[in-house]
Symmetry: C2
Subunit: 383 residues, 2 copies
């Protein structure tokens, strides 16, 4: 396989973008990535989107977006893996370039979630879980993650306050990200006193409903000349776990992330200790706690200690979610995995301004779908 | 890139499968393909599905189906390109093996379309068109293809009876396919007197609403030992056109199919004259007429003459849709592209029984989404 690098990135300000359409949001991010890369064409595009059908009544996004760019007849491929759609779309784009099939490819993600009401959005998101064995009984994602949190708290002594620290940290990081949806400082007290959603998870433990897009341009190495310093894709890996929580051996362990990360570390030739920073899938505060355990950044059961200790904050041993994460940056589900990669690229270029991780050398992104039924892990380094 | 072959195929009887669930239909086809290949595992799976969200309220199919097979933690990737979802999923699976990332991969497609009523199915299918510029004005796919048909008839003199011959031929072929949804002989009179849907297209010009799945197993060549003769993927290509009909230079020409086919012929090192048979996307009778022109099997404007002349029938110069095509075999949209490939493999193995094309050496499959906004073309030959 050929070596592959990210040569351009783009993203718009995320939030409730009622004045913009689905395709418009995507096009802004795509054009910015293409301009950032300094290329005049791409050979193909990939787009991660969870549910164009349920959120905006539009499937067939690969063709639509190639047309929107005015770049037809290039091929357009939409990839879906619930909230890991962006990460998995990037992986397919990576394989298309690594294989030699294409030289320059746009990998992107988009979700427009606020054109439907809250109930319809909750239903659309629930299609990431097992409809026949979970959703028919009325459970939605806050409830599923609440059960995972309860097991983690019961078994390992993880506390309500430890979870709150994850949200506090990610909001502090998001304050430094001009494109984040929620740029507001919050405290542990704010979190533990916020509205209850599914015990023990409160509204400030939950990532929001967001409209947004992100895009990156990738190309085969070696490159003659690039506008910005290329960032190498050192590893790409994906794995699955049972779709239903009830089929898991351990509700408090993310096996798909563990498996994908182990493959990625082996391929990149590094260990968790080598990482300068991570962007991980903190759809709920408990998710970040469990993810950093599965990534080997904290011992099993000890993930709750990371945020309160400052280890995962900017300036700590391994900053987690310097972008603000899903919690503060927002979570337009199909776009999240690509935005994580954009952040990794900016960090490795040294372009992250106020939230720059010092001497960033290795960055990891972890994007997952459902309650971790799918995980996608990428590792990046300076080319 | 490594050479890749199809080593196993599976498909169930298509139709209105009310007694079976979405995942059950898929699993039957997948297990048959794995058994046919004689392998005890696959390294990853890909699934084409147009709208799990709108048809059955279930997205995240890659993870769900890996779980359903009991093969987690292998990665599972869902690919969507409207009615070309199956063909495009196969292409991503092909790239994953050709690149060296995986050795044995399951490529599959599924759609369960009859769990919703006809209006909801028509709405779900309309999400393949341009929602903002086409569907909001009330048009659906029969109407879009009717406009294409009218232009073709006006400009080239294509007749109502010529269109009917496409349906008659494909039903005659489908009679020989034990898995086809509609195994019934029809006449030109039946077609031209059937219920009007969108002038000039009548109900017997239209492919049906279908539940069904299909799967194939692919592996890198050379192979030590296989249960069945491997069939080589000689070429894979995908292209796009404008999503909206109103943006086309020519309503009576399928540019995405032309572009993808030209790439595929060049890569396989053959011309249209070398083809032993084709499986093409006859979602409406006019579609087959236009596709065989874009594939170079008939001159521009002359596609209407092919079926009446017998050229595209079994026993003719180049049989088109020996399986019965979408018209008779059925059209579970995400599965169609994979079922076309299954047919090509059976033909090239010499296992097509009553519908076997004599001395089949090169077979082409053409799968498209919307009104041809996306097309995927594959060419196969004996390994």
């Amino acid at each position: 396989m050929r070596d592959v690098a990210v040569i351009g990135v783009g993203m718009n300000r995320w939030g409730e973008l009622w004045e913009k359409s689905h395709r418009q949001i995507w096009t802004e991010a795509a054009l910015e990535a293409i301009a950032d890369a300094g290329v005049d064409h791409v050979d193909a595009l990939y787009v991660g989107c969870m549910s164009g059908g349920l959120f905006v009544g539009q499937e067939h996004l690969g063709a639509l977006l190639a047309d929107q760019l005015g770049m037809g007849p290039i091929s357009g491929t939409r990839v879906e893996s619930a909230c890991a759609s962006g990460g998995l779309a990037f992986r397919q784009a990576y394989l298309a370039v690594a294989s030699g099939e294409h030289d320059i490819v746009l990998a992107s993600g988009v979700e427009k979630m606020t054109d439907v009401d809250g109930g319809a959005a909750t239903y659309a998101l629930s299609t990431a879980a097992d409809q026949e064995y979970e959703c028919y009984h009325g459970i939605t994602f806050p409830g599923l993650y609440a059960m995972m949190a309860r097991v983690h708290m019961h078994r390992y002594g993880t506390t309500r306050e430890q979870l709150a620290h994850v949200a506090v940290k990610n909001h502090a990081h998001g304050l430094l990200n001009p494109l984040a949806q929620f740029r507001s400082k919050i405290t542990v007290e704010d979190v533990v006193e916020s509205v209850m959603v599914a015990d023990p998870l409160r509204v400030l433990d939950c990532s929001p409903i967001t409209d947004g897009a992100a895009a990156v341009v990738i190309a085969a190495l070696p490159l003659k000349e690039t506008r910005k310093a290329p960032v190498k894709v050192a590893a790409s890996a994906a794995a699955t776990d049972t779709i239903g929580l009830h089929d898991r051996d351990d509700l408090a362990w993310l096996r798909s992330t563990e498996v994908a990360a182990a493959k990625a570390y082996a391929r990149a030739g590094i260990t968790p200790n080598d990482l300068s920073f991570c962007e991980v899938h903190d759809c709920f505060t408990i998710a970040e706690v469990m993810v950093i355990e599965a990534l080997g950044l904290a011992e099993r059961g000890k993930g709750g200690e990371a945020a309160p200790s400052g280890m995962t904050a900017l300036g700590g041993r391994v900053p987690v979610n310097p972008s603000g994460g899903l919690k503060s940056k927002g979570h337009p589900v199909g776009a999240t995995g690509i935005a994580q990669i954009r952040e990794a690229v900016l960090q490795l270029r040294g372009e992250s301004d106020g939230r720059q991780v010092k001497d960033a050398r290795w960055g990891l992104t972890q994007n997952m779908g459902g309650t971790g039924a799918s995980s996608v892990v990428h590792i990046f380094t300076r080319a």
